[in-house]
């Protein structure tokens, strides 16, 4: 087995997308964001937009990375964010967190600190009161995990 493919496989990285040298955008775009979303929504895709996920561009280690997610929503009884999900393709548990909001929130905004298993694209998925799905993403480079093959 080729060494690079072995390492990629052992780390659970999709092999084909990352075994070649590639640009930074290619690396993040090689994550199957739509597949990740569908895996938690029972097959439904989400529209991009309205969801703003803020994560720092760089984190020195992945242990504690400040995160803020906000959604453009009037947060009225008729039109509000019901749930906000944080999804990770690289963490052992893909659903990092689910936040339940409601019209009493006033604004759809949650801050926390997340743990990231290496450089990755994190997805914030919002389900609205009318059932529609919106998403935003943020790419985080965990700089200390750069020592691994294919960590991007």
């Amino acid at each position: 087995m080729k060494r690079r493919s072995f390492i990629a496989a052992a780390l659970g990285l999709p092999l084909l997308a990352r075994a070649q040298a590639q640009s930074r955008e290619d690396f993040f775009n090689s994550f199957d964001t739509d597949g990740l979303v569908k895996s938690v929504t029972g097959g439904r895709s989400a529209q991009r937009g309205r969801v703003n996920l803020e994560l720092p561009l760089l984190a020195d280690n992945g242990n504690s990375v400040p995160m803020k997610v906000s959604v453009e929503s009037p947060m009225t009884e008729a039109d509000h964010v019901k749930t906000l999900r944080l999804l990770s393709e690289r963490n052992p548990e893909r659903a990092m967190a689910v936040f339940h909001l409601g019209p009493r929130a006033g604004v759809a905004e949650v801050s926390s600190r997340v743990r990231l298993a290496g450089t990755q694209r994190v997805v914030a998925l919002a389900e609205m009161s009318d059932g529609s799905l919106y998403m935003g993403t943020a790419d985080v480079v965990v700089t200390l995990s750069a020592c691994l093959d294919g960590a991007g």
């Binding site: 060494r3 780390l11 020195d60 200390l144």
Partner: protein, 709 residues
Amino acid sequence: MTTRREFLKVSAAGGLAFGFHLPAANAQNVAPEINAWVVVRPDDTVIIRYARSEMGQGSMTSAAQLVAEELECDWSKVRVEYADTNAHVRRKRAWGDMAAVGSRTIRQSQDYLRKAGAGAREMLIAAAARGWDVPAAECTASSGVITHGPSGRKTSFGKVAGAAAKLEPPKEVALKDPKDWKIAGKPIRRVDIPDIVTGRIRYGIDAQLPGMVYAAIAQCPVFGGKLKSADAARIEGRRGVIKVLPMEDYVAVVADNWWRAKEALKELPVEWSFGANESASSESILQFLRAGLDDASSVVVARRDGELEQGLAGAAKVLEAEYFTPYLAHATLEPMGCTAVVKDGRVDVWTSTQNAEASHATAAATAGVPLENVYVHRVQLGGGFGRRGGSQDFVRQGVQIAKALGSTPVKLLWTREEDTQHDFYRPLSLVRIKAGLDASGNPVAWYSKISAPSIISTLLKLPLKEGIDPQAVAAFADQPYSIPNVRIEYAQRNPHVPVGFWRTVGHSQNPFMRESFVDELAQAAGKDPYEYRRALLPAASKEYGVLEATAKAAGWGAPLPAGVHRGIAVTEGYGSYVAAVAELAVSDKNVVDIRRLVLGIDSGHVVNPDNVVAQMQGSAVFMLTAMFWGEITIRDGRVEQSNFHDYRMMRLREMPKVEVVLAPSGGFWGGIGEPGQAAIAPAICNAIFAATGKRIRSLPLKNHGFEIA
């Protein structure tokens, strides 16, 4: 008076640009960029930006060669500058990965670097064509000059750079075939050599700032311990001492010069709470690893082919052996350190780092400021070898100390003792190997169980898929020989000693074990070790090719003078394929006289052949040093070694003749910085066996009474 202690402004043409001042404006926004990688000045100077770190491995030059090749500029007008990390962050990581680790600067960036060069060339041509009102397709570029074919009109890059910078980059560019290379692929002199030779090169340790103070630190001698108390009053009155800073896991003494800081620190009464590991020793650690080997309760299988038990049961002969390799220190010539100033919410850092982006992120997190407020000033490294990438402890410390001092710049510098005793060591490893041979001596079964720490788990704190650390099992889990029944198992055992990436990582030790054991099999089969391997490697494999090229260059099989014997080894590593043949004699006093070391490498493409040769020779120095004397031992929870008197380095006169065989087969990009080490130890030890009948199953050689001639 020497210039070493003076400020440096941007250096003169031909050298690199170092600034030990605090620039008011970001100089990189001044000249017109064609793209993030290429700046062309009106005087035709081409500035090629380099994102990663230069630590003597030469990639600063090779990377620039790749850009220049596609750019079609005049190499004599090229200057290479580091990409600025602050601009990088503000421009959303415009320069991508900045890590010089894993032997992957060239192989990971070659595509986008070449495209950047080609894209810039197209934009320069387009600007010239527009100026002449002719189709761009009728124009060509060569050596910095653009020519319109039909009319013969010419212009230079510098004249059209301003216009080119305003154009849209092309969506697609075609790249040259390496066989057409004129700059890449050539043994061009490294761009930093003039500054190295004239003493103008600047390392992290050379940082000087007005009003700068100096810090020495002491960390807990037992890993994992904490600082309990430091009696600052006892040294505060000493001449030059400015402050004593007790931190959670270290204490720093700040003074007006480093000698005074260091000497005061020696006199500082410090109490540590050592924690649970004070009783650990090399012996207890080895026991812990052995328990891992013997532990059948939770077995992690890294590779399973066929049916091992059946293969062994059906074997005519079964061989078994245990191999061991120790902890190793990086021992970079420049100890760890960091100069930092935290002022008005802005952080400036000067440090030798293998990943300026990681230093940037660490500085921001430590100071608690946004990434946009951090400036990591780029310098050369006095050796990296993996110490300064995945562990940014020295940056964390430097910024912590700077923050505690208000806005005074401080240079933190570790002593050699601190550096030796607070490393992230090459992990030790205890491996049991078992193989079964058929009646013809061919291996029908191979078993290896590796009991070793996991760098990924402990340093990077990342989960392991199925419990396998790929670096701990490297060269075993992907061994290339045609053996039908294989099982490779891993027992993760993490003693308290911190581990990290030491040059060549898992390939710095596992090929020694594997290739020595293959030699044992060849001996048991009564076969020539070179022919034995050839028969087991797929003929189309790259291992086969480089093994053959190296053996041929070494003259394997030709008669040797009396007393001189050969050893051979081959392995893959970092995407390249390496082989080694050692010729040596061993005296009756066990002095090893290496007459010849032939190192072959197939790295696919070669960007700078002179640099590859240098890296292979450097690998020989590093690995010979490690295999003859290198070991870090533990007593009472702490590292016993401290300086170069007990952690010996090779001497100039001991260096053997190293011949390098470049055998690039094309079509792929393999690493250079690390694979060169991988085949050396087994080749030498196999030759020692041929010379003495003594099989070496653990390193260093000094523990077996061997010395180098």
